[in-house]
Amino acid sequence: MKNAVSGVGLAPDAAMVTFPIPLFLPGSDLTSLKERKREFYDGLTRWKSEFAQTAGPAKMLAVEGASYEDALTKANSFLLTHLWGDGLPLWPATKERVDWILRGIALPRTHVLGKFPPRGGITTIETCAIALAMAGGRPEYLPVLVSAVDACLAAEGFDQLQATSGGPFPAVIVNGPIAKQIRLNSGFGLLGPDPQRPAGASIGRALRLLQQNVGGALPGVGTMAIFGAMRYTNAVFAEDQEGLPPGWQPHATHRHGFTPGTNSVSVVFASGVTNVRRRGAKKESPEEDALNGMWRMADFMRTPNLAALAGWEKGTPGIMMLPPIVARRMAELGWTQNSIREFLWENSRIPMAQMRRAGAPAWIEIDANPATRASISLDPWPICMNPDNIVLLVAGGGHPTHSYWLQAHSPTVEGRVIRVPETFEQLLAEADRDLGRGEDVHRV
């Protein structure tokens, strides 16, 4: 609630009377409402705001220790006790570290990207650099982070996505040569940690720190995400463009119309991750293997994911990732990106009888979008308006056994071009010096 008012320009200390969740359960005892009625009356008559902070540059904070290690420990404790940490070690955002990170972008540090909802913290280039510094990032990561933040701030309903109990997290898909240049993973283990391709962890962690520290998405206070999966680093990864079969479009081209080769981000808000064992186990022909796998993927998608209603018309029900070896084999068998999306859309439709059994129509009936409400007449009910809503990616390790489904709560899919400074090549050379000369040298 505090986040809701500060995000629209009011002081964050609104007159509030808050009650614990049990009071809101069916059949609950409402006695405490009567006992606390005076608080409502006072809120309307006597309450005064005591908030006095105004906008300006970020404050500098300080700790002292007997040694550098002691000071570093104290800085980490300070950040945690002020609710600015995530439980993992942080680099304090010293002036030197933030200035170093800021070399990664041509925009001035004071450039305002917007207010980060729901709390409404003013988000500048410097704010992003501070988060990236804390998350262990490097200058060449900053253009990707800034574009991802810009896309998030523009996303429809981002204030609600930040706070909702379903706990959606940004999945940032990167297209273009920048992915390899900054060591962003598109292959084996792309959603997890990788010392050879560390960019996604730092960028995603920085984005999460911004969501929490600037946007106010503090668990149980500013975000009611009941489970909060994938919230250490979100999901920041690249599409495997080299793995695209001939004639297939990069995601950014299909979804956003960006020319192939453009550096870009595309942000989907995902609410879950599911592995799909796609490959057959006996003596299937190539055609049977492909078709069985497609059915299995559709079976996973055929669920009444009611959070996805928010994106039924314009957003997406989720991201389906095919490993490059699978995409190539399916293309050889005549499958196209369109025919895959159409198959998955057609065969993930849910019979209305099953929808009724699960109480799903009630959620469709109260949806704010008229197109979504009208979908209740469709039987079987499609999980999104059109096949093109489904985000289909070629990504993951070169292994055919699994595909991966990230179901979504994504009213829109926002794309942004990534702008790099003229000195970017120099930054990449410095990264080579610090981390080795690129992933191919270090491939295990």
Partner: protein, 97 residues
């Protein structure tokens, strides 16, 4: 001693509009509800309405459904304009998450 200085990571807040002035008293005033209609609002808000009517002579508490309800509608400019146009002295926002 080693001093370690670092940036505050929380971003600054900008207060661009004051909260509404408080009322001197609730007696004789018109009060409305803006509700997201979640989690027992249908039980709790009528109870609050009844308590206000009992405790303050001459108070007028508008029906719970006077304004648009639900998460998608209560934060819109249209709802705010409707509240303003209705001439209430105060509103209580019921926002269960």
């Amino acid at each position: 001693m080693v001093k370690l200085e670092f940036h505050d990571p929380s971003g600054t807040l900008e207060v661009t509009q004051p909260h509404a002035p408080r009322l001197a008293s609730l007696e004789g005033k018109r009060i409305g509800f803006v509700s997201n209609e979640q989690w027992q609002a249908y039980r709790m808000l009528p109870m609050l309405k009844e308590m206000l009517e009992q405790d303050f002579p001459g108070v007028t508490v508008l029906p719970i459904d006077t304004y648009p309800q639900g998460n998608a509608l209560i934060g819109t400019e249209e709802t705010a304009a409707q509240v303003k146009k209705s001439g209430v002295d105060a509103v209580i926002v019921g926002n269960a998450a």
